[in-house]
């Protein structure tokens, strides 16, 4: 079959090289070869609920409020994230660390506002008492993360943000706060002795100190985080690594057996090793 002269007169020039010989003869049915060959190619889709794949490490997922290595929160309740938010999705109420109920016994004026002593939720003067993000408004632009002066707010890879009620889609502080990793000491407790919030921000605090452990032991002797934090304080174990985001467990029929089979075959890496950690860089390092 020769080229259609009608097209040539209109100045039509094919962009792709034209088949010749047998290829030209078979060109009208070449599509059948394409579809048949495609049957033997691997599928490109993900087996989503059964096997959850991590998105790219820069993915803008659910937010996380991070902690310093001794367990204090990074959020200082400054509301810059809320001001930066173009969708008005964030609501923050700050409060003074000195007003914590743990400090109620202290004489008025005994605790200076920026004193490292006394109970602290975060280093320095203030902490975020209320922190809400409305995920029905959030557009995941990340301007809040850029606005955060203490790098308290980052975004995780958690993309599974669906709910069955409007109220449930407003995530509270306890939903957003990064859980304590092994070796962190649960807040509230004093700042590490002789430090300022600037030292925290620079990353000079690498774990709980003995004074902090003693303070918590005195007030909350059955706190679950005490043992690991004491080990960090005494130097018998390294300081806690920042928490990395993990994908939620696979779902669906057969997923559990499949996962068990793969684990037995040794083909599955631990999720944390597999995933480029969102906040794996050393604390305070500029990314």
């Amino acid at each position: 079959m020769t080229r259609d002269p009608k097209h040539e007169s209109a100045g039509y020039q094919p962009l792709r090289p034209q088949a010749t010989g047998l290829g030209e003869f078979l060109a009208p049915v070449a599509g059948f070869g394409v579809t048949f060959a495609a049957m033997f190619k691997p599928v490109v889709t993900e087996d989503y609920p059964r096997k959850k794949e991590a998105p790219q490490s820069r993915y803008h997922g659910r937010h996380q409020l991070n902690r310093y290595a001794d367990g204090l929160e990074k959020c200082i309740g400054c509301e810059l994230c809320a001001w930066a938010c173009p969708a008005d999705a964030i609501y923050v109420e700050g409060a003074s660390n000195a007003d914590l109920p743990e400090n109620a016994g202290a004489e008025p004026g005994a605790l200076a506002a920026d004193s490292p002593d006394g109970a602290h939720m975060s280093p320095g003067e203030r902490y975020g008492r209320v922190y809400q993000i409305n995920y029905l408004r959030c557009i995941f632009c990340g301007l809040c993360v850029e606005a955060c002066p203490t790098r308290a707010l980052t975004m995780t890879n958690d993309y599974e943000l669906a709910g069955n009620s409007r109220a449930g889609m407003i995530f509270e502080k306890q939903d957003l706060l990064a859980p304590l990793t092994e070796g962190m000491l649960a807040a509230p407790h004093p700042m590490a002795e002789g430090t300022t919030d600037t030292d925290y921000y620079r990353g000079d605090v690498l774990g709980a100190t003995q004074a902090q452990v003693d303070w918590v032991t005195e007030r909350r002797p059955d706190d679950e985080t005490l043992d690991a934090a004491a080990a960090v304080a005494s130097g018998s174990r390294p300081g806690p690594a920042p928490r990395q985001h993990e994908l939620r467990p696979d779902a669906g029929p057969g997923a559990a057996e499949k996962a068990a089979g793969e684990a037995a075959a040794g083909s599955v890496q631990a999720p944390s090793a597999q995933e480029p950690a969102l906040d794996a860089a050393p604390e305070g390092a500029i990314r």
Binding site: A10, V34, A38, V43, V44, G252
Partner: protein, 431 residues
């Protein structure tokens, strides 16, 4: 009519000792086979199309998603049954039933295999519900009646899109059943019978799709048109007519149309296998391994393998081709398929006459045939191409690029003047 006279009328299968009970059992088995095959066919189609599109397809319900179509059927059963107020109620309800009933009829005359002996007994019976001297005509009749379901369903819905779908379906069946019937005629000529069992037994030495290749191609194309499958699914064209004739149908009534469509696919596949692909005969030369491959229960396996190969072709076509435009579809049916089918029947008739009636020696016949072919091809080599070339070399008309004050594109045969920037050097560009 008893079996002896049937045999005399050219029916190969022997139904002379067939008790009523055996026929009833066979009929039930055929219905069960068709219904389960439809469930499997839907899964098969979705899986194969998915593989062609690099995705896994249904994989959630049952092993490899095999129970997906069962779940879909349950869903349809439990859905609200909506009756359109403006519908012509009786016909509206009758239409899906006509479709299903007609589609279930065809397999009655399809031979699944030769005579089989029921295990642990000495009762031997053909693996076929029935057969008669005009069985293939009966198949064509059933297919035509099935279209009434589509046409009446579209008409009685009292809605625009279904009506358009029904009209298209009518036109489609008229144009493509002609071609289909004509392609089957050549099989009748070669087999000397319209009985399905006789046609299968006439393919002992060679399957008809080889000597009757043009008829086979016409049949394959028209069978896709007959079943409203892509690229000929114009009666239901989602992009144009919502769902065509079944737009106003919901729940079980819709499921019946759906069922009929897939049974029809199985029907035309089975007819294709029976008439062109050797029926239940093993895909090896006759006499290979003795009679073993072509007797007993094994031929049923060959039959099913072939039917599903044709079903795969259906899915393959669907995964590859786009829907035709309606006018192209009609032009293809009337100006290509029917003339080709008709011409082939004439050629075949001539050949049969020359070999069997005039009894020309083979060598004489081949010389004659070669001469005719050359005589036909010779003018073709000079004709259309040259004329078009001459036309094309005519000077392109001048174009008024700003006719009526607006920039306009060139019409066919016109050529744009060279751009004023053509040939100028581009500033800052070395080459």
């Amino acid at each position: 009519m008893n079996g002896v006279t049937w045999a005399a009328a050219g029916v190969a299968a022997d139904f002379s000792n067939e008790p009523i009970l055996a026929s009833v059992v066979k009929a039930v088995l055929i219905v069960v086979f068709l219904l389960t095959s439809v469930l499997f066919a839907i899964w098969f189609e979705r899986k194969v199309v998915a593989a062609m599109q690099l995705r896994p397809g249904p994989n959630w319900h049952g092993p490899k998603g095999l129970l997906q179509s069962l779940a879909d059927a349950m869903k349809l059963l439990l859905k609200e049954d909506i009756n359109v107020t403006r519908a012509d109620r009786v016909v509206y309800l009758l239409a899906p039933m006509i479709s299903v009933a007609a589609s279930l009829l065809v397999f009655a005359v399809i031979p699944f295999g030769p005579a089989v002996t029921i295990p642990f007994t000495d009762f031997t019976t053909p693996a076929q519900l029935t057969d008669f001297p005009v069985a293939v005509l009966y198949i064509l009749a059933c297919a035509s009646v099935g279209v009434y379901g589509i046409v009446l369903g579209g008409w009685s819905s009292g809605s625009t899109y279904p009506l358009l779908g029904a009209v298209r379906s009518t036109a489609q069946v008229i144009s493509y059943e002609l071609a289909m019937g004509l392609s089957l005629v050549s099989v009748f000529v070669m087999a000397g019978s319209m009985s399905t069992s006789q046609i299968v037994s006439s393919q002992t030495s060679i399957w008809w799709f080889i000597p009757l290749a043009p008829a086979f191609v016409v049949y394959v194309i028209s069978m896709v048109g007959e079943t409203n499958r892509l690229p000929f699914d114009l009666p239901e064209a989602e992009g144009e007519l919502v769902s065509g004739y079944m737009t106003e149908y919901s729940s079980m009534k819709f499921a019946w149309f759906f069922l009929a469509e897939y049974i029809n696919m199985l029907n035309v596949s089975a007819v294709c296998v029976t008439l062109f692909l050797g029926g239940w005969r093993a895909p090896v030369p006759d006499g290979f391994l003795g009679d073993f491959l072509n007797t007993g229960w094994l031929p049923i396996v060959w039959f099913l393998v072939k039917v599903w190969a044709v079903m795969f072709f259906f899915v393959w076509v669907r995964g590859t081709l786009l829907r035709l435009r309606y006018d192209q579809f009609m032009v293809f049916g009337w100006k290509v398929l029917i003339p080709v089918a008709l011409g082939w029947v004439v050629v075949l008739g001539g050949v049969q006459w020359a070999l069997n009636v005039a009894e020309l020696p083979r060598s004489t016949f081949f010389y004659l045939a070669g001469g005719v072919v050359v005589l036909v091809l010779l003018p073709l080599m000079f004709w259309p191409e040259k004329r078009r070339r001459a036309q094309q070399e005519a000077e392109p008309e001048p174009i008024d690029a700003f006719a009526d004050g607006y920039p306009v594109p060139p019409l066919p045969g016109q050529k744009l003047p060279a751009s004023p920037r053509f040939g100028k050097e581009v500033a800052g560009h070395d080459s």
